[in-house]
Amino acid sequence: MLNAVLAGFVLAFAAPQVARHLPRQAGTIAALLPAGIFVWLLNQAEMALGPGVVERWPWSPLPGVTLSFHLDGLSLLMALIISGVGALILIYAGAYMQGQAQAGRLYALLLAFMASMLGLVLADNLIALFIFWELTSITSFLLIGWHYQEERSRAAALQALIVTGGGGLALLAGLVLIGLVSGTWEIAGLAAQAGTLQDSGLYLPILLLLWLGAASKSAQFPFHFWLPGAMVAPTPVSAYLHSATMVKAGVYLLARLSPALGGTQEWSLLFMVTGLVTLLLGGWLSLKQDDMKRMLAYSTVSSLGLLVTLLGLGTKLAAEAAALYLLAHALFKGALFMVAGAIDHASGTRDLRRLRGLAGALPTGALAAGLAGLSMAGIPLLAGFAAKEFIYEAALFSGGSVWLLTLLLLAGNVAFVVVAQQMTLRIFSGASLRFEHFHAPGVGLWAGPLVLGALGLALGLLPEVTATLAGAAARAIYGAPVTIHLFVLPDSVTPMLLLSALTIVAGILLYRRRTKLEPWLNWLDQGARLGPENAFRRLVGGLPRFAERVTDMQQNGRLRSYVMWVVGAWLLLLALTWLLRGGPGVPSDLLARLADLRFHELVLVVVILAGLASVMQANTLLTLIVSLGVVGFGTAIVFILFGAPDLAMTQFSIETLGVILFVLVLYRLPGMVRLSPRRTVLRDSVVTGLAGAVVTLMILVITDVPLVSPLKTWFADASEPLGHGHNVVNVILVDFRGFDTMGEITVLGIAAIGIFALLKLRPGRGGESKAGDGEGRT
């Protein structure tokens, strides 16, 4: 199974090369892989329907993360759909792209997607499943954004990615919770842990996270809006990803996990409500569309809602109905999409209002659409009929509000019947229209829909095959052995049959009177379609604005606001730590420690503080420079008094040079002006005063604790014997820590070059800088 999955990814790289050399046959050649996988799957069918096939590949040292595959009934059904439809789609895409320059990229992406999707349905490990899940989101993003030159395509692709990707994140959280609670990361082992999972306090969070993941992927309300948007993709993509396979991923996930998590009231309520709302909303919205693809997209949304409803219901009959419908839907919806694409290809329009009487020009298309439409409408002899029978049966024996559920499902199915008529009667019957550039599509475009349509008929006529396939899938969903009894034609009149007939009659009536519904449809369209989509747009559009505002607030280019942020954040964090963790109090023996202050030291402190006060008060530059000098020289004297003559000398020299610099620069500047309003001054005083007080306190606390400094004694002892020097400070600088000093003088050199450049190299003076003259003289 690993080979089957990997082959898709590997061959995806080869596809563009093949397309370059054999542009006409490339699609068909690419189709060989899914066709091969399809055949291989059929070969494995006996095993899969029985005990199942398991493969394990350790690919990460992390516990619980293995690349394991498990082929059972449900996986087999999904994998057959993925590879079978995939092969047909690639042939179709080959004809659809007709050797366009970018066709190779399309085949590559379709193959990569197919591989991801296969991995998703075959994976038996929660983490592996998630990885493939995300891979389908990414390939879907790339395919929706196929016409990347168009703004609309990019927006739709991004929308789909954000919605499904966001759901994917929720899903990851949900899967991790499942793994942690159940203690197993293998999906096959989860069913045995159903009790543990459902009794856990985390059950509801898991369910909600799962809901987010599945609902966003499978376009359930309120995330349904991305799917119609995704119709900007080329039709092969819409037919493959957005009707038959990827959008089923959410449904598949629910089906896969229902033995472990399903069967509770919460499960039923959550998914049945979501499913029913989506079913009705999608059905209603599909009636309103004029664009064939959008109509089919909304109808797909509706179908997905139906599947979610059935999985939410969770009875044995519901599982059977879901499996049957899953199969039937993939066949007829894929076919209808491909027909829509072929018509678009031939006539240049997908507008239902402009299409009429195509049966004459496109007899093959009419046949394919007819077969698919009949299946969609649930006419006997076709696969869709059996599915609908089981849906109604599941509703009638659901044991809850039977009539309400039946009524809602009936309403949803009526909409399918209407869409089926739109796709067949409306566009193929009647007087034919003339198109300017009409060209009949070739066999490549009809092979796919014809085969799928015919399969729908074949499965209806071969009930044993259908029953075996769907039954095995239903067993995986229900978690217990299931046997489906199917028949070609009903042999007795049952309530289900009556409901089916009622559905068809109501559908036909509604289709005939559809023009009268328009006002109603418009009204709902406004409300429902724009609701969640608008919220999404606002969210996505609002984020950058919010970020901009935050950035403007924090990084406004004003130094003092940066300083304020730093100081404020520092004080806040300190205060928080102090409040939460406690901190040292003010040392108590301060007065005693203050007593050792000598008189000349006191004078020095007073002088420094006075200089400082003068700096703050300075209203001329001269005062400022002199006051700064006082503070600086005061500092130097502190160094002298406490055994640091080197520091003192350096400080004195620097002060002298500093004054020179200040004088050179500052008297070019204007006098001191008070620029800040009084309130700002007050605020700044409070904040900086606090910061200063904290520093003082910090020093007091630190110096209260005895200091043990092995470095001090080490350097003092090593200086003379090892460094041949009596001045320990100098020995440290030039010997022990020489490398540091070297770095420092390098920095100084760079600073000098920077200053020189600032002063001498000015824009406008170009290379004729004064610097050249200055250097020339030396």
Partner: protein, 141 residues
């Protein structure tokens, strides 16, 4: 605007300051002093010279470009690290000769290093002071 007193005083003080700078450098290893202070002292001397006369004349008195001082200083510091390397020790390991030179004392890689520091400090400080003073003169023109 240059005062005659400043000019005369500078003539006296300038060589004294340079000698003091050298003194600080040489005794720095055993007593307060060293390359940093020595460098700052020499730089102050030239700054004073520039104020008393002109930046141009100070540059002439220096004979070398300030940037060359920085470069040579860094080179000295770097070279002083090599002997240790050749002796099989880490870069910048101090090496001492037994040769006792009058005034200077024992020759060592450390002294070369400190001289490098002095040259860089002089170069950096004077680059800044000269550039500023020149920009200032320019603006006055």
């Amino acid at each position: 605007m240059t005062s005659i007193i400043l000019v005369v005083a500078t003539r006296l003080i300038f060589p004294l300051m340079l000698m003091f700078s050298l003194f600080l450098l040489l005794r720095g290893h055993d007593a307060p002093g060293g390359g940093f202070v020595g460098g700052l002292m020499a730089a102050s001397a030239f700054a004073l010279f520039a104020f008393a006369t002109s930046v141009t004349r100070a540059r002439d008195a220096l004979r070398r470009s300030t940037f060359r001082l920085i470069g040579v200083g860094l080179l000295f510091a770097f070279i002083s690290g090599l002997p240790g390397l050749f002796a099989g020790s880490p870069f910048l390991t101090a090496m001492w000769t037994s040769a006792e030179v009058p005034v200077i004392g024992k020759l060592s890689s450390v002294l070369l290093f400190d001289t490098g520091v002095l040259l860089v400090v002089v170069g950096v400080t004077l680059t800044i002071v000269f550039a500023m003073a020149e920009a200032d003169e320019e603006e006055e023109e």
